[in-house]
């Protein structure tokens, strides 16, 4: 039985994120090989994910915050501060 576009759309995000089961993956990509519309939509979704991943800036936690969290776990925190800063 071949997959319909409607079913492919249900699996679309999970396909982008590598969250499909083997069976789902097989059926999904089978459908994509025959349906250009779903293929394009899949490529768009992948691209959108990439943009978010690449473009959203990750800020560093301010030193004051690092210090106060360190106080929580004050034993041998020096090596820990190092790993945090180099993360």
């Amino acid at each position: 039985m071949t997959m319909k576009c409607q079913n492919a759309r249900i699996l679309m995000s999970a396909a982008v994120d590598g969250e499909l089961s083997l069976k789902e993956e097989h059926d999904f990509f089978m459908h994509l090989s025959k349906c250009i519309e779903c293929k394009n939509e899949f490529e768009d979704a992948k691209k959108t994910k990439m943009i978010v991943k690449e473009r959203i800036v990750q800020f560093k936690a301010p030193q004051s915050l690092i210090n106060s969290i360190m106080e929580l776990t004050s034993v041998s925190n020096i090596e820990y501060e190092d790993t945090l800063l180099h993360e």
């Binding site: 759309r9 249900i10 699996l11 679309m12 995000s13 999970a14 982008v16 994120d17 969250e19 490529e43 768009d44 979704a45 691209k47 959108t48 994910k49 943009i51 978010v52 991943k53 473009r55 959203i56 800036v57 990750q58 800020f59 560093k60 936690a61 301010p62 004051s64 915050l65 690092i66 106060s68 969290i69 360190m70 106080e71 929580l72 776990t73 004050s74 034993v75 041998s76 925190n77 820990y80 790993t83 945090l84 993360e87």
Partner: protein, 209 residues
């Protein structure tokens, strides 16, 4: 004699106070498991509150709570996901009354937010010709913020923080199928928003590559 008061803020303990071996172990484990996620938590808090001071408070509160209840953390599971959930709950308790309407974006707030934080990564790929690569992080951020919260949230947790669907489902307290469909619809909406920006720059969005 003073009895230990569990409700007392952990922060108030002095370093000189001697710790039991157990407590010492707990601290070491907490550092290894939980404190390493400080930057991620701070960013999540920033995205939720849009305010560096509130974000700092929220993260602090989260770690206090996490430390206090560290025994209930299920060993072997994702500690980052556990911390995110605590932070989200704290956020709802503290800020939800003033939350903005879904889909309503305060662009000035976002601008101020970006400019109030100086430690921004430098953008090295401005010269890219692909129109999506010409988008600035501020614009992508605005586009993301313009999405209804239920969509924005799953995109953040999935694409920025890299959680699995199972972890996200647990965090947003919805079935995995709901996570799937929110991600699908959210990405579609986001794509439309980004294309609006692209049009503004005069890129032809019909022609990919």
């Amino acid at each position: 004699m003073d009895k230990p008061d569990p409700s007392r803020n952990i922060k108030t303990r002095t370093k000189k106070e001697s710790l039991s071996k157990e407590e010492h172990q707990k601290q070491l484990e907490f550092q290894k498991e939980a404190v390493v996620h400080l930057n991620s938590l701070y960013n999540y808090a920033l995205h939720l509150t849009m305010n560096p001071d509130d974000a700092e408070d929220l993260v602090q509160e989260t770690y206090l709570k996490a430390y206090r209840f560290f025994n209930s953390f299920e060993r072997g599971t994702n500690c980052k996901a556990w911390l995110f959930k605590i932070l989200k709950n704290n956020y709802i308790n503290r800020f939800h009354k003033n939350s903005k309407e879904p889909g309503k974006v305060d662009y000035d707030l976002i601008k101020d937010f970006y400019h109030s934080i100086k430690d921004v990564q430098n953008d090295t790929s401005e010269a890219e010709s692909d129109y999506f690569h010409s988008l600035l992080h501020e614009e992508v951020y605005q586009a993301l913020q313009s999405l209804p919260e239920e969509f924005r949230e799953v995109i953040q947790l999935c694409d920025i923080e890299g959680f699995t669907y199972e972890e996200i489902a647990n965090m947003v307290e919805s079935p995995i199928g709901t996570v799937r469909s929110r991600l699908y619809r959210g990405r579609k909406l986001l794509r439309e928003q980004l294309e609006e920006y692209a049009k503004k720059y005069g890129f032809n969005t019909d022609k990919d590559q």
